[in-house]
């Protein structure tokens, strides 16, 4: 199973960082000193010292729109043992959600993160639910240790885009050219 999933990841592995529409990225209840780019942006997210932290309580609501339609395969969420996220809910194509109505909709997928996940192991999602994603909402409900502050070191999204085909795959086949 894990081998299959690993292959699956390899096959469709495109880091969707390039397709994020940064103008519409929002995070509710973030601490302004430790904000979302620390976890999302290239370079910042690799630095374990730079975290996204929650502010008033331990919940976080992250909204990520994309520049084109994507299929989301898996995500990686890295955090510390104590303060890393535990319960994570994902919503596709829901804009302008707030903490009050986040539980009104059924999540497209949800996951409880294990310590391995927090080390960098990808969480494979229900691919069928994420076939036509324009925007993604990540709701972090609580954290591992139950503290008031949740800290996230890295968030990475993997999947494929809808319009373009897998050019790398094509190249490999037509190697003669």
């Amino acid at each position: 199973m894990s081998g299959e999933s690993a292959n699956a990841i390899l096959r469709s592995q495109v880091d969707l960082l390039d397709f994020i529409d940064w103008s519409g990225v929002e995070c509710l209840n973030q601490n302004t000193a430790h904000s979302l780019p620390n976890a999302l942006k290239q370079g910042y997210r690799e630095d374990d010292g730079l975290n996204l932290e929650s502010d008033a309580d331990e919940q976080l609501l992250i909204h990520i729109p994309f520049t084109q339609v994507i299929k989301l395969h898996s995500i990686v969420i890295k955090g510390t043992e104590e303060e890393g996220p535990k319960t994570v809910k994902l919503f596709s194509n829901r804009d302008h959600m707030g903490f009050s109505n986040v539980n009104d909709f059924p999540a497209s997928d949800s996951a409880v993160l294990t310590p391995e996940n927090l080390q960098g192991k990808p969480v494979v999602l229900k691919f069928v639910k994420f076939q036509n994603v324009r925007s993604l909402a990540i709701f972090i409900e609580d954290n591992q240790g139950g503290s008031d502050v949740t800290k996230v070191q890295k968030i990475a999204l993997f999947g494929t885009t809808v319009e373009t085909t897998d050019m790398k795959g094509l190249k490999k086949i037509e190697d003669g050219h």
């Binding site: 509710l28 209840n29 302004t32 502010d55 008033a56 309580d57 919940q59 804009d95 302008h96 707030g98 903490f99 009050s100």
Partner: protein, 402 residues
């Protein structure tokens, strides 16, 4: 130019009947609300504002966030006072109203007018504040009216819980002669990023009427060129008026000269004054020089003769550029002087006409031309050899009488 949706929470409790803010606390709040609405809409036309009341029977939303100022002002008219303020419920309803705003891209802001004592305790306020911060709602608190024990601390705690990156503010307005809205204008509630300050300055000028901290009602900080231009033009006008006044005084002196021997000392002082004035004001230097030249000539002319100077004086007058009417008047007065001697001669001629005089005399009742004294009188009047005529006239009137 922040895109923002604002909900204003008005306190319409019984405490608002108090008149320590003119005309009453509730009316002061209404004025402030209308000012805020105007400022918000001006800084960004897509901004929306809504209003709710916190006291009365319960929290009631008067308008949901809208860009229509007229609707908001209309709602403000019908507010009734009564009950107690429920600030916790008020803020929560405001938050709900903002959540359902039409344009989700707008930032959320609540402005609370806290005029009556607070029932809720500090913990509750802090929790409310945290909830607002979690949903990224900014909060502005206007603390006025009742000074309750613990009210400032509770409001400060609320602000501390809400404040995210200095976007929330608290303002304390003590009672006094100035209107609530005027005092609010200078606070960060209005001057967010300086976008509202232009409107605020205009509002000060309009609402306060003549009362203005700045000269000419224009804020030098906002519009320095305009303020400078106004000041310069005022000074120019003042200088011009002084010059005109001096000229009028001087010409009055000249007029006096035509009728009596000129008091040269007086004129000298006048010219000295003129010179001093000329030195003082650089701008009017050149016309002053011309004035001096004219003055000198007038002086010399009037020194020489009193008779034929009128024509020359007329010429001088006509050369004076300003106050042509004054010149005309002077001319006319000159001519009248000339006429006067001739008038006198006319009168003397009339009196010299014996027949006329005698006819007048005889027609007077009680005068008997045959009376020797009358005859003598007439004879003395007669200065010409018209005795024969006189006799004839004398004969005739008696016949007429008889």
């Amino acid at each position: 130019m922040v895109l923002e949706a604002t909900m204003i929470c008005i306190d319409n409790s019984e405490w608002m009947r108090n008149g320590d803010y003119s005309p009453s606390r509730l009316r002061a709040q209404s004025d402030a609300v209308s000012l805020i609405c105007g400022a918000k809409t001006q800084s960004n036309p897509e901004n929306t504002v809504g209003v709710l009341t916190m006291a009365g029977k319960g929290v009631r939303v008067l308008t949901t966030p809208t860009t229509d100022l007229g609707k908001i002002l209309a709602c403000m008219h019908d507010i009734e006072m009564g009950g107690e303020m429920n600030i916790a419920a008020g803020i929560q309803v405001a938050q709900l109203a903002l959540k359902h705003r039409q344009n989700k891209n707008q930032h959320q802001r609540i402005i609370v007018f806290a005029g009556s004592p607070l029932k809720n305790d500090k913990k509750v306020m802090e929790m409310i504040g945290k909830k607002l911060k979690k949903n990224s709602v900014a909060l502005d608190i206007v603390n006025f009216g009742e000074e309750d024990d613990g009210k400032p601390e509770k409001l400060e705690a609320l602000l501390a819980a809400v404040n995210n990156n200095e976007s929330s503010h608290i303002v304390n307005i003590p009672p006094g002669p100035n209107a609530l809205s005027d005092l609010l204008i200078s606070t960060p509630i209005f001057n967010v990023d300086g976008g509202g300050s232009g409107f605020a300055a205009a509002a000060v000028a309009a609402a306060a009427g003549n009362v203005s901290d700045f000269e000419f009602g224009v804020d030098p900080n906002i519009d320095p060129e305009l303020a400078l231009a106004l000041r310069v033009s005022m000074e120019e006008e003042r200088a011009r008026q002084e010059a005109a006044a001096k000229k009028a005084a001087d010409e009055a002196v000249k007029e006096g000269k035509g009728e009596e021997p000129p008091s040269s000392s007086q004129d000298a002082t006048m010219t000295e004054n003129f010179n001093a004035a000329a030195e003082a004001t650089e701008k009017t230097a050149e016309p002053m020089d011309e004035e001096n030249a004219l003055l000198q000539r007038a002086l010399s002319v009037s020194m020489n003769t009193t008779g034929p100077d009128s024509s020359v004086a007329d010429a001088v007058m006509s050369e004076a550029n300003e106050d042509k009417e004054l010149a005309l008047a002077l001319q006319m007065s000159m001519q009248e002087d000339i006429k006067d001697p001739s008038n006198q001669t006319d009168i003397s001629k009339v009196l010299g006409d014996q027949s006329f005089v005698s006819s007048i005399l005889t027609s007077l009742p009680g005068v008997d031309p045959n009376d020797p004294s009358v005859k003598d009188l007439i004879a003395s009047l007669q200065g010409q050899p018209e005795s024969s005529q006189q006799k004839k006239d004398e004969d005739e009137p008696p016949k007429a009488d008889k």
